[in-house]
């Protein structure tokens, strides 16, 4: 199913209907996506919806084109990036992204409290050790000491984290395949549980991946300063 951007009979640009980004492009709500097909469609739609093409049209058409092309750009930006695409799908399916939740962030900032960040279970030990090392590093730097053995430890830990980061992406891709298969099957009885399971798993992978990314960032910061 694809969104109707232009009237079938008179060809004039239509007011944008609030559709999701997948529908806007006429793509199924699946996570594996042919990027070059998406790009091609983006350019094709741009050539027809861009405000430059409506400079001499009446104000109504100009307004529609502005709305449509902003939706087109927003949709393209979101679907092009694998993580944004995943997050978008989760939101569409009603899953609130805990870590990125704006309310949570704002609340944390307003109250000065730390955001509730759950350390992924499989990383507990690693994170604990790494944080200890980073503390040590910061103390040493303050007094001007230099410990190459410590730096090497931290360097190894960072590499390990980076590997985990990449591995998590592959884990995400595995969930993508599950999701896409699920979509292909169509709705069946007991499907709600399956649906929920896949979505939750994807959210979990994303959160863990974000956590690892933030950790790597902290390491880099500590090493630089």
């Amino acid at each position: 199913m694809r969104a109707v951007h232009f009237c079938a009979s008179c060809g004039k640009v239509q007011p944008p209907v609030p559709v999701d980004y997948f529908t806007f492009f006429g793509f199924p709500r699946k996570l594996n996506l042919d990027i070059s097909a998406l790009e091609k469609e983006f350019y094709a739609l741009s050539r027809r919806l861009h405000p430059d093409l409506f400079a001499q049209a009446n104000p109504e058409e100009r307004a529609f084109s502005l709305e449509q092309s902003s939706m087109l750009n927003d949709a393209y930006r979101t679907l092009k990036d694998p993580i944004k695409r995943t997050e978008y799908l989760l939101r569409l399916e009603g899953v609130e992204l805990e870590e990125q939740s704006k309310q949570a962030t704002e609340k944390a900032r307003a109250t000065g409290k730390l955001k509730k960040q759950v350390v992924p279970a499989d990383l507990l030990e690693e994170v604990f050790e790494l944080n200890m090392h980073l503390e040590e590093l910061r103390t040493q730097k303050k007094i001007g000491e230099d410990d190459p053995a410590l730096l090497e430890e931290i360097g190894k830990a960072k590499l390990s984290l980076e590997e985990k980061y990449n591995a998590l992406f592959n884990e995400l891709k595995a969930e993508w395949n599950k999701w896409d298969k699920f979509v292909d099957k169509g709705t069946t009885d007991g499907a709600e549980d399956d649906r929920r399971k896949i979505l939750d798993k994807m959210l979990d992978v994303l959160n863990r991946r974000n956590y690892v990314r933030n950790l790597v960032r902290d390491v880099n910061e500590a090493l630089e300063n």
Partner: protein
């Protein structure tokens, strides 16, 4: 369609141009003087007439306090952030300027906001185009630096409006340049545009394919350009002069204006000369009679300007990073802006991108030519442009200030425009009907380090318990790179009224008033000119009459005639110094009429004298009354 001309305008810091698409190629429309470049210089002459362009430049030396240049540096900016500019340029702020007010600059006895001054330059270009087409011009595309923020863009749009133009689109300068470059359909690949003008620096990375010009990343510095090179050289010269000649012009308010402008002229000439010569000479006649002479070598020049040119490297590297590209992946580098003629700049660009930059296009004209191409596309396109499409980006991230003074970015930099983001707000207090939003532009974490764009006050929220309203606020950056905000309370479906307080700009009402005032002003100026011309004519006729009375022919008039002439003479003298143009005109005509007989008699005398063999210039034959030349300076006693 043929009479509906849309032009492209490059409103530059140093020079401005207007161009249009003539068949398959864009051409620049010259001024009355036949020149393509109109210096962005505005002067007020002794009669408070506005002079724009090359004619205005002469006033820089004569009456520098009545001239403004490089006004683009002040567009969309506030008092707090132009302190550097005030030190480096002879801008005079209005005496009664308050903090938080829109900037006003003094030119002579009058004050103008920067958009009004830019509008005067645009008016000149508009006149040039109208003269060329022989038809009125109402629509234009105007270019802006890619790195201009929202306030700077809005100020440019306001200037267009005040000049009586409907600005169809603001186009980013590097993107416009790429249009001129890529008009040849075979051009495709990754193109970098390095644009170093008089006051601004932009770098844009574009992907050209199938007629689509897609900006991938853009970066820059809106106060970096040839002006900075000039100012550095001027500062060195002033120090030199103080050391060698013991004259400190910085502390000499009476002469500093003129001295600095003379030095500036010399320094600019030398700078230009050094693009093709190994040495250049500075030769300045200083006020007070002394001379300043000095030779500059190319080597010394390059050393002096190194820190300024180096400032372009950071933005270039950031743009490449944002684009996810390495220099090797760039297919072409295009140079734009007069300052790219400097050999050192070219070498720097070559080193940065590992390739010889493309220099076939005239760096002064390419932006205007590209704007003309865009104008053509907006007008409906022609054979050569019908496959072309511009996809540009917003250069700065858009953010909202949230609790803790932090910026929450909602639209990231280098997002293709039009782009939008939706945020949800609610109320803190029962019955609260207003919600305030502070919008910013910039990449920093803290709101105070970003650029304040505007404060939006959402009014008309239906009174409800605190936390109940769900206000959907939509931020939309349009194709001009300018922000629009709409808001709706979802539960009631009511559209919220939005009161916008631009942080550095003019409200719509102020712009409309300026537009109306500019019409009045034009009339006022025109009226002044009429009066001056009439006075001149009156003086001429009175002088002629005075001589005529000494002529023997005067005695040949009847006493009635003589009495009538003298009454009308007195009458003309009476109204001449007044402001009533029609009264002066009537008095002139009446006197002319009354003195016709006298003129005839004097003519006869001359003729008969000539026939008697006397030379014509032995007679008292005067030239008849004539209208003063409209452009000549009026002489007042």
């Amino acid at each position: 369609m043929a009479t509906n001309h849309i032009v492209g305008i490059d409103l530059g810091t140093t020079n401005s141009l207007v161009a249009y698409m003539q068949g398959d190629s864009p051409v620049v429309i010259p001024g009355e003087d036949g020149l393509n470049l109109v210096p962005s210089v505005v002067a007020l002459d002794e009669n408070n007439q506005i002079i724009v362009g090359n004619a205005a430049r002469r006033y820089l030396i004569e009456t520098p306090e009545r001239v403004v240049y490089s006004i683009k540096r002040l567009m969309g900016r506030g008092l707090e952030d132009i302190q550097d500019e005030l030190k480096l340029f002879p801008f005079q702020l209005a005496d009664d300027l308050q903090a938080g007010e829109v900037l006003r600059i003094k030119i002579g006895e009058r004050t103008y906001t920067p958009p009004e001054i830019s509008a005067l330059v645009l008016r000149q270009l508009k006149r040039n185009a109208e003269r060329f087409f022989g038809a009125p011009l109402t629509q234009a595309v105007i270019t802006v630096p890619a790195y201009f923020n929202d306030a700077q863009r809005q100020a440019t749009k306001d200037a267009g409006r005040i000049a009586g133009l409907n600005v169809l689109r603001l186009v980013n300068e590097p993107t416009a340049a790429s249009l001129a470059y890529g008009l040849d359909k075979k051009k495709h690949g990754m193109v970098v545009v390095y644009d170093l003008g008089g006051g601004t620096f932009d770098i844009s990375i574009l992907k050209l394919h199938d007629g689509i010009f897609e900006v991938i990343a853009t970066n820059g510095d809106t106060h970096l350009g040839g002006d900075d090179i000039d100012n550095l050289l001027i500062a060195i010269a002033l120090d030199d002069i103080r050391g060698e000649l013991g004259l400190d012009f910085r502390r000499d308010p009476r002469h500093s204006g003129e001295a600095i402008q003379r030095i500036r002229q010399a320094v600019i000439e030398a700078k230009i000369a050094l693009s093709s010569q190994p040495t250049a000479k500075l030769d300045v006649d200083l006020p007070g009679g002394k001379k300043y002479q000095r030779e500059i070598s190319l080597e010394a020049f390059e050393q002096i300007i190194q820190p300024i040119i180096d400032r372009t490297v950071g933005p270039c590297k950031q743009a490449l990073k944002d684009a996810g590209l390495k220099p090797e992946q760039i297919d072409e580098v295009v140079l734009v802006g007069g300052s790219t003629r400097i050999p050192k700049v070219r070498r720097l660009v070559q080193d940065l991108f590992g390739r010889v930059p493309h220099t076939d296009l005239n760096p002064d004209e390419v932006v205007a030519l590209g704007a003309a191409v865009q104008a053509n596309i907006l007008a409906g396109g022609s054979e050569i442009t019908k496959e072309m499409l511009l996809l540009d980006v917003t250069p700065l991230s858009l953010g909202i200030e949230v609790a803790g003074g932090v910026t929450d970015k909602i639209i990231l930099r280098n997002s293709t425009v039009p782009a939008s983001a939706t945020q949800y707000y609610t109320t803190q207090v029962d019955g609260q009907t207003n919600v305030a939003i502070h919008v910013l532009q910039g990449e920093r974490e803290l709101a105070r380090d970003c650029r304040s764009l505007a404060r939006f006050d959402l009014k008309g929220v239906p009174p409800m318990p605190a936390g109940m309203p769900r206000i959907e606020v939509r931020f939309l950056i349009d194709a001009n790179g300018i922000l629009r905000v709409t808001a709706r309370e979802q539960r009631s479906g009511k559209e919220a009224e939005i009161d916008v307080q631009p942080s550095y700009g003019l409200t719509d009402e102020q712009v409309e008033n300026m537009l109306l005032e500019s019409f009045d002003f034009a009339e006022e100026d025109f009226r002044q000119r009429q009066i001056i011309e009439a006075r001149r004519e009156a003086d001429t006729i009175l002088t002629a009459l005075a001589k005529g009375k000494k002529n023997p022919a005067w005695q040949d008039l009847t006493s009635e005639e003589r009495s009538k002439v003298e009454t009308l003479e007195k009458s003309l003298v009476g109204v001449k110094e007044g402001d009533d143009y029609h009264a002066i005109r009537e008095a002139i005509d009446a006197l002319n009429q009354a003195t016709m007989h006298l003129a005839e008699l004097m003519m006869d005398t001359a003729v008969s004298t000539a026939l008697k063999g006397k030379a014509m210039d032995d007679t008292d034959l005067e030239e008849g009354p004539q209208a003063g030349h409209p452009v000549a300076k009026a002489e007042f006693e």
